[in-house]
């Protein structure tokens, strides 16, 4: 029975990774850049919930809404200020800037909130589900799985059924051609950052509820792992990010349980390197052809 409980928790963690990975993969597909600061947007989301609830005394629902708004604004601002001026710069310059932004967010948080972890009170109202005497599934796990599945479904519908969604697909396919067809590329990129950051906010609430602690580095590691998940699934592919995220969560939780909790992270990252060795485009990625 304990295997099932590890598995369920793995899927739950994987759902969070998937939500974060979606942000990476969408931005990568459309802006062709690795948004290193994405993980730290999660941390900002977590602190927003923490602050609004503990200082503002608002209800969890309002706090979550606040987190979504703050993260969305943050994501769009980062894009406008730091990435947009570099649209025509080398990938190296963009990547270094993104790392700079990530570092900036972490260290601002460090200055404001200090280096000690704060205890995060779970905002999930769902009660644990006692399946039988040996297996109990926490409310957080249930909520995470349900919420992430609903969001993934909604996002898929959004991308495939709406006008903005098809604009996003068009820009990711060929930015120049999309522009010629009258699509506002800058606006599409902004919207992508907004959606990605809103998803990060949701992920932050779920993450901090499941692992009830928050500090300046809360977003860093899940961010990197979610990126790994995105590469695993095939960077740029939305279903790939979902599958990659969930698999990554399962791999991490099972290796934590059955191999060693100390080297679980090492195992997760080794998976990345092995994947890149065997199938560099990830499980659902497309081959990339450079225009000459």
């Amino acid at each position: 029975m304990s295997f099932i409980s590890y598995l369920v928790n793995g899927v739950s963690l994987g759902g969070i990774y998937a939500l974060i990975a979606l942000g990476y993969t969408m931005v990568y597909g459309i802006a062709k850049m690795l948004n290193f600061a994405h993980g730290d947007v999660i941390m900002v989301g977590g602190f927003t919930v923490f602050m609004t609830m503990s200082l503002g005394g608002v209800s969890p629902a309002v706090a979550v809404l606040a987190a979504i708004i703050v993260c969305t604004l943050l994501g769009v601002t980062i894009e406008k200020v730091a990435y947009k001026p570099l649209r025509n710069a080398t990938p190296l310059a963009v990547l270094i800037t993104a790392i700079g932004v990530s570092y900036l967010l972490q260290n601002l948080a460090l200055l404001i909130f200090g280096s000690n972890s704060r205890t995060f009170k779970s905002v999930v109202p769902v009660k644990a589900w006692k399946v039988n005497d040996t297996l109990t599934i926490s409310g957080e796990a249930i909520t995470t799985i349900v919420v992430s599945l609903v969001i993934m479904l909604a996002l898929t519908l959004f991308i495939n059924k709406t006008k903005i969604g098809s604009a996003m697909l068009a820009v990711s396919e060929d930015r120049g051609a999309a522009q010629l067809m009258g699509i506002n590329v800058n606006r599409t990129i902004s919207i992508t950052f907004a959606i990605g950051s809103a998803l990060a906010a949701v992920a932050s609430v779920l993450l901090c509820s499941s692992y009830p602690q928050i500090n300046a580095y809360t977003g860093a590691m899940p961010g990197i792992k979610a990126f790994t998940a995105a590469v695993f699934g095939g960077i740029g592919s939305i279903p790939g990010a979902m599958v990659g995220g969930i698999l990554m969560g399962i791999i991490e939780n099972l290796s934590r349980a059955y191999i060693s909790s100390q080297i679980a992270d090492a195992i997760v990252f080794s998976v990345l390197i092995i994947i890149l060795l065997i199938k560099p485009t990830g499980i659902m990625g497309k081959k990339y052809n450079e225009k000459v």
Partner: protein, 351 residues
């Protein structure tokens, strides 16, 4: 004399002058014990920055795992020195062998990571080197290694489960506690010599057929291929040499602190080295040296500034990139420097 040769000679001269000045200040007590203690760390950070510049500035690929290579070099060389402490009693010889081992092991790791990743597009190298750094740190944190008359023993649980022989057993790596004591063999003079060697290799490599090929990969990969430059070969070459010297810097670090653990080998350290490289100017070896010196000393001199150090680094990274890619700013800089350093500019163009 070739302009590039002249430029390199000036760089050597700067380093030698700095060394002489530091030695003098240290000997006369002007420097004080605190700052004297920083001479070795500054030296290995210079080696780290110069070697990272080879990957980031000259090859044009981003590596975020420089601390990982440093870690590999530090751990393997420290094990060697602990084992041979009683056999090789000359510290200099022991350190030289340790550096050879640390550098080579780091280079091997560089090849192992480089082969799968360097075939892929740029961003992957950044993420994989980052992952590598974390894996290495994780593993060295969790592993127990000991030695006795039967050879090496490993465990992932604790020191006891290695079942070392009571009489001859010696714990090498004690899990998260790391290796201690590592003989304190690093001296400022050795560091200085190693810096010179690093500069010699990196600058001569850059100013040669291989160096031009490495830069051609950075400047235009497709064009490089169609004139017959093997992309993978030169990427791997630059990346491996870079890892080798990061390993050596790790050796100097390990043999300077006596209690070696994985704390320093984290993402922050990799970023800090990157900041040195970016501020010094991508591709400018001399710039890396000067930037390291300034950025390392600045927070030390302004103690109260220390809290803001990381924030400051982050802002440097962002501004350096934004300004460097801003046409208005670039033309402003070039017109100002053009007027001030009319002759210098001409020289630089010839390099």
């Amino acid at each position: 004399m070739k302009a590039a040769t002249k430029h390199n000679l000036v760089t050597y001269a700067i380093v030698i002058a700095l060394f002489a000045a530091a030695q003098l200040a240290s000997a006369t007590g002007v420097l004080g014990s605190h700052l004297s203690g920083l001479l070795v760390p500054i030296s290995y950070y210079i080696i780290l920055a110069v070697s990272l510049n080879l990957t980031v500035g000259i090859l044009g690929e981003l590596s975020l795992g420089h601390a990982g290579f440093m870690c590999v070099g530090a751990y393997f060389s420290a094990m060697f020195s602990v084992i041979t402490r009683d056999v090789i009693t000359t510290p200099l010889l022991r350190l030289c062998l340790a550096m050879l081992i640390g550098g080579l092991v780091a280079a091997v790791f560089g090849v192992l990571i480089g082969i799968p990743v360097l075939r892929l597009r740029g961003d992957y190298l950044a993420i994989v080197t980052l992952a590598f750094g974390e894996i290495i740190k994780n593993l060295f944190n969790a592993i127990y290694v000991g030695i006795d008359k039967n050879g090496l023993h490993f465990s992932m649980k604790n020191a006891m489960s290695m079942n070392l022989d009571k009489a001859t057993g010696k714990t090498l790596i004690n899990g998260a506690l790391g290796i201690s004591p590592v003989p304190r063999d690093s001296t400022f003079t050795i560091c200085f010599v190693v810096i010179l060697i690093t500069l010699f290799v990196v600058m001569n490599l850059t100013d040669s057929r291989a160096g031009r090929a490495i830069m051609s990969v950075r400047d235009n990969r497709i064009a490089a291929e169609t004139i017959g430059v093997s992309i993978t070969k030169y990427k791997l070459m630059a990346f491996t040499v870079s890892a080798f010297f990061a390993g050596i810097a790790g050796v100097l670090y390990a043999h300077n602190i006596s209690m070696l653990n994985t704390k320093i080998f984290n993402y922050n350290t990799s970023i800090m080295i990157l900041v040195y490289v970016v501020l010094g100017g991508l591709g400018s070896i001399r710039g890396s040296i000067i930037a390291t010196l300034l950025l390392y000393l600045l927070p030390e001199l302004l103690r109260s500034f220390n809290d803001y150090r990381m924030l400051f680094y982050a802002i440097i990274l962002i501004l350096a990139m934004l300004l460097n890619n801003n046409e208005k700013f670039k033309s402003l800089v070039s017109s100002v420097t053009g007027r001030l350093l009319h002759r210098k500019g001409k020289e630089a163009a010839e390099n």
